[in-house]
Symmetry: C2
Subunit: 292 residues, 2 copies
DNA sequence: ACAGATAGCTGACCCAGGTCAGCTATCGTG
DNA sequence: CACGATAGCTGACCTGGGTCAGCTATCTGT
């Protein structure tokens, strides 16, 4: 794979250049671990357990780091009023000062690297890195089966319906779709899949239900606008199809609105073929199936 | 700066995702330092001093790492036949095997990250990273004054002349340009500047000489094809101008061939204005000056 | 009210990574 | 041939990062 070689060469180069640089300068004022922790606490503060999760640190190790920052007068901890076991860490005035210093230094560091490029090329660099960032983030989206009544699932479906409402000439009325209908997506005969980003935000969803014993129906296929064009819909569809196969279906069907051109094109690319109307969905003008 | 924010956000994300990943997996078989060293020795082998320079390691530390790899039967060292003080490290058969394993693992690791993207998006990612790589590499090019008789300078000029030869309708005959003429570039009245990449390869050059006591002349402005379009010529020109100012000149002049459209455009952007012919260079059709 | 779970802390310990001074063998130069 | 410089090695030492077991205080569910 050429892509892999490119990524690896980038890694080696970039790690040595920028990564090490940042580490080195962060580590000169105080040990890296402490600096990172200081950064992570930030001006908003954070609960200890949150920090432990975000930095993936051992609880003992984190305790010690915190105590050192406390001794240096950069951080103060206070018990959580709602739960006496938990504690909350905030930056002191001096902590904020050091945070600012680190932040400023970090900016200068990057600026120094980028300065020779001039404004136009810097913008190009930023653009290339943003694209790479977005693509890697997209690649690390994972699909999980959740209960369709859960907040994440409900939010995803709501976003989907809101979008349909603006897209369809007649608008869209979800009716019971968020509540009564969702039992059809319960395993083992159905599934509601949410696509989660690295930071646990829903990037899309899709649902499967069993129409007849040998027929699965795909519904609620949706991808958040910021994650379109990275093949996520295809991944969700594939996931639902494999669940359909596991459920013993011999084919999946789906309906869609003529206004959803991209979706239709995607279904066709995925091997779906037009069939006759199989339901009385007032918003559907096209029906598809895929056999295996 | 928006660019800086983008780069920092990328750094944080990327370091946590790919960087840490690579480190972690490299470090599981054997300590990271050893793994890196193994990688760096490579199938071609390397001299100890080379390794020390490339990995920026303390000589004692490197010695110890090497000895551990030797004990594990992965590396063998042999004295340099030409210089009894120096030693050369090569991978043994088992060393090559482990190298291959690490290499393969590294590929799989990246492949796993990239796989969900599909081929087209992977290629896009690779493209974005290559562009970023190239831009950062361009930004870290440094300018150094060298003796024009040195190999690097000679090579850069030769490449320049070879290019002129293909570009000019009449071809180009350098005459004494590589030898007798270069004394004009000797400091303090002149300067020959070579642009070095991170890995000490010449990416371009430029020269300054003193025509009259108050007039500097810019010559031998050249940028290697792979480094064009990143503002390097502008940097070299600026550097030479500042040297000209320091030398007490009140203006710089230069000549160029009408075929070199990009160069002419660059000179104009940099503030150069057309003047009358000031020399009898048979290859020049345009003459410029810049005053300050 | 009590058992078990949870959050955070402490002590003990380990290892990789890194630095420094000093040693030996060899080389290049006058 | 003697001198200083250079390449590499060894010993001694330090620090940061990290793990593990066990402790205490608190919370939650029954």
């Amino acid at each position: 794979m050429d892509a892999i070689a490119a990524i690896r060469s980038f890694n080696r180069f970039y790690a040595g250049r920028i990564g090490a640089l940042e580490e080195h300068f962060l580590g000169q004022a105080r040990p890296l671990g402490e600096a990172r922790l200081l950064f992570e606490i930030g001006e908003a503060g954070a609960s200890i357990s949150e920090l432990r999760a975000r930095l993936a640190l051992d609880s003992g190790y984190l305790s010690r780091l915190l105590r050192r920052l406390e001794e240096d007068g950069l951080v103060a901890t206070e018990p959580d009023p709602n739960d006496g076991r938990r504690r909350f860490a905030v930056l002191t005035h001096r902590g904020v000062e050091e945070w600012d210093t680190l932040d400023r230094l970090s900016n200068h560091q990057i600026e120094a690297i980028v300065k020779p490029l001039g404004e136009r090329r810097s913008a190009e660099l930023a653009d290339a890195l943003s694209r790479a960032h977005h693509l890697v983030a997209a690649a690390s989206i994972t699909l999980e089966v959740v209960d369709a009544r859960e907040p994440d699932a409900q939010a995803a479906m709501s976003a989907y319906f809101a979008e349909l409402d603006t897209l369809f000439p007649t608008g869209f009325d979800p009716g019971d779709a968020l509540t009564a209908d969702v039992h059809a997506y319960d395993p083992p005969t159905g599934a509601f899949v949410v696509a989660y980003t690295n930071d646990r935000r829903a990037a899309g969803c899709g649902a499967l239900l069993t129409m007849e014993s040998s027929v699965g129906e795909i519904k609620r296929m949706w991808v958040a606008p910021e994650w379109r064009g990275v093949g996520l819909a295809g991944r969700i569809l594939e996931d639902l199809e494999s669940r359909s196969r596991s459920a013993g279906h011999s084919r999946t069907v789906l309906d869609t609105n003529a206004a959803l051109h991209d979706a239709i094109a995607m279904y066709e690319r995925a091997g779906y073929r037009p069939i006759e109307r199989y339901n009385d969905n007032p918003y559907a003008q096209r029906w598809f199936e895929k056999r295996w």
